[in-house]
């Protein structure tokens, strides 16, 4: 492997030169070591899963798709004004936190559940929530069931040893309902068991259930029940100790929500420059210097939305097409939990 070594040496030398140039340009630095490193590199290193549909998965042409991948691109657009300046690093559940801790990635957007244990012990923190997942149920429409509360006496297909199994038994015990679990380990087998009628209900993460339903040829015969019985908030993660970088990630995600709230999309954002709405003017960088305060260009939010769209667009493109209902992932004023503080 001689060439990569050479290339590595060249990259080191190039990096040093770039760092020197960038150092001259931002003599005082941005106040964020990570942002400075990203700028010097000219590339955002983004840790993703790379193997989960709807979140991050390459399509047939090899282009990374999904809400996590688009989140990476939005951050890159906010920093560079160019959404293509992302290096995607696929990570496994085993090496994702080390990759973040060691600085191999600048931000980890890999459907990681926000838990207290992780935030308290890993030296990393969550900058927000981009998907409220949780255990859900799917049933056949012919059953005529509208709510999980009506599932008394049902047989439920779950994977053994998962948090889903625990959540399901807790739910039924709490609701004082009887149920018969059918435990099948393999996902493909569990799906065919449900289709063939061995169980009345199939329980899994609601995003996975939505994908399952969407890929069935007779998908209208299946109904996702509205109850989500466990909390699995997924979000982007950054290292602790770089608050300015934390702010950039957090506010890029907020910017997508604020854009949706104001009806700003990637398509109509250029027609908004005449707006008189003060928050929108600050959002677009026409007034104030909120972007500068973040250490970015005042056009940062404009660039992010222009490149990748608002939260609704990203959702529709990646999860909407999989037939996953928006549910609690809708904006706060549309019955969901997505809430962004005001931009002022």
């Amino acid at each position: 492997m001689m060439r990569p070594k050479l290339q590595f040496a060249a990259a080191l030398a190039g990096g040093a030169i770039l760092a020197g140039l960038a150092g001259a340009a931002h003599a005082e630095g941005s106040g964020s070591a990570t942002l400075d490193a990203v700028r010097a590199r000219g590339m955002l290193n983004c840790g993703i899963d790379g193997n989960t549909p709807g979140f991050s998965l390459p399509d047939s042409k090899g282009v990374m798709t999904g809400i996590d991948a688009d989140g990476c691109r939005s951050v890159a657009a906010a920093i560079f004004g160019d959404a293509s300046k992302v290096k995607f690093t696929p990570l496994t559940t085993q090496n994702r936190f080390t990759a973040l801790q060691s600085g191999e990635v600048d931000v980890l957007i890999r459907e990681t559940t926000w838990t207290m244990g992780r935030e308290a012990s890993l030296g990393a923190e969550f900058a927000g929530i981009n998907f409220y997942d949780g255990t859900g149920f799917i049933v056949k429409k012919a059953m005529g069931v509208k709510s999980a509360k009506e599932l008394d006496g049902a047989t439920v297909c779950v994977q053994p040893g998962t948090s889903t199994e625990l959540a399901v038994s807790d739910f039924f015990r709490q609701a004082n309902l009887k149920f018969t679990p059918i435990l099948i380990d393999n996902v493909a087998e569990i799906q065919s068991a449900f289709i063939s009628g061995r169980c009345d209900v199939f329980s899994n993460d609601s995003s996975a259930l939505g994908t399952f339903r969407a890929t069935q040829s007779n998908k209208d015969d299946y109904v996702l029940l509205p109850e989500i019985i466990s909390k699995e908030p997924l979000g982007p993660m950054v290292r602790k100790g770089d608050d300015k970088w934390f702010d950039i990630i957090r506010w890029t995600y907020f910017a997508m929500l604020i854009a949706e709230e104001h009806g700003v999309t990637s398509k109509n954002i250029d027609t908004m420059s005449g707006t008189t709405d003060p928050e929108l003017r600050r959002f677009l960088g026409l007034e104030g210097d909120l972007g500068k305060a973040l250490g970015l260009d005042d056009k940062w939010a404009y660039n992010a939305i222009k490149a990748e769209g608002n939260a609704a667009e990203i959702w529709d493109r990646n999860l909407g097409v999989l037939g996953i209902p928006r549910g609690i992932n809708a904006l706060w004023n549309k019955g969901g939990l997505m809430y962004a503080p005001p931009m002022r």
Partner: protein, 380 residues
Amino acid sequence: MASQAVADSVQGAARERPPASVVGPVAWARRNLFNSIWSSLVTLVLGYFLLRWAWGLLNWGVLHAVWTVPVAANPLETAAPCRQAQGVGACWAVIGDKWRFILFGRYPYDLQWRPALCVLLFVGLYAVSASRRFWRKELLYIWIGTLTAIAVLMWGGVLGMQYVPQDEWGGLPITLILATFGLAFAFPLAVLVALGRRSTQLPAVKMLCVAYVELIRGVPLISLLFMASVMFPLFMPEGLNPDKLLRAQIAIILFAAAYLAEVVRGGLQALPKGQYEAADALGLSYWKKTRLVILPQALRLVIPPLVNTFIGFFKDTSLVLIIGILDLLTAGKNAMADPVWTGFSTEIYLVLAAIYFIFCYAMSHYSRGLERQFGRTRNR
């Protein structure tokens, strides 16, 4: 007189073709498959199952297979014709949709002729190296030239080709790069380590070689890859990270070298002591003795285990799956995860197996030929 008659009759028999009951497929079958009642029974039962299985495979893989699917209005329902045939016929349409991703991963779609050319270059390099006619000093230049050409094609950035960073490489080229560079660097290292381990005059070198081999052989490749991918970056200053592919490559080189060193050492030990002493008696220096007398004979002895290790490592490169490098197997698994095509992993696995088989079978076939050639000179 009697022996003359026997010889005549033998010659006569040799000129005429023996009856079908003695040679030919019928006779062969009778001798080997139906030579007793039990043998016949076993043959019939196994034959029945074999035919049924082959018929089933033909039905599933060819007769009832779905080769193409029309473009669906809803992209998620593209696979609907396949789903109707699921369990009855194979869905080769998934390969039609995904083959470029499986072979080349996330390499920019419009530029995929470059990795395709690299695969051809690799195959050409193997073919040239396999031919004994090219076994001379120039081969080294051919290797350097080809590998440079591959590097230029993959990275680009010169000659008007667009630069493609390593994280976008994937599929078959990654597997070939890991295997080829891995073995190309591991083999010389292995020879040195094997020689070092046999050294009698340099105890420190010997200890070092023993420690290296035993340490590396004592841990699984997966743990080495994890070390390279997870632990190593923690020891480096923040922001300074050698590329993941390079780290995995070094881990594979170190691992392969330890195993190959033991194979080479086996060859060194199998060589009669007289060869060493004869070379010494000729007054050859250590390196001349090793290069001209010892290694050519020792390596010849260990061709089968060497190729065995090569084949093993070609497949072991797929373990980079667990550290998130997009090699052939990982690309296949990503292709399976596409919700449009869930449930058609068998077809993808079969194609992956076929690709691995082609390379591994070529290697073992070649090594058999090589053994035969060398055997001829040895048995002369």
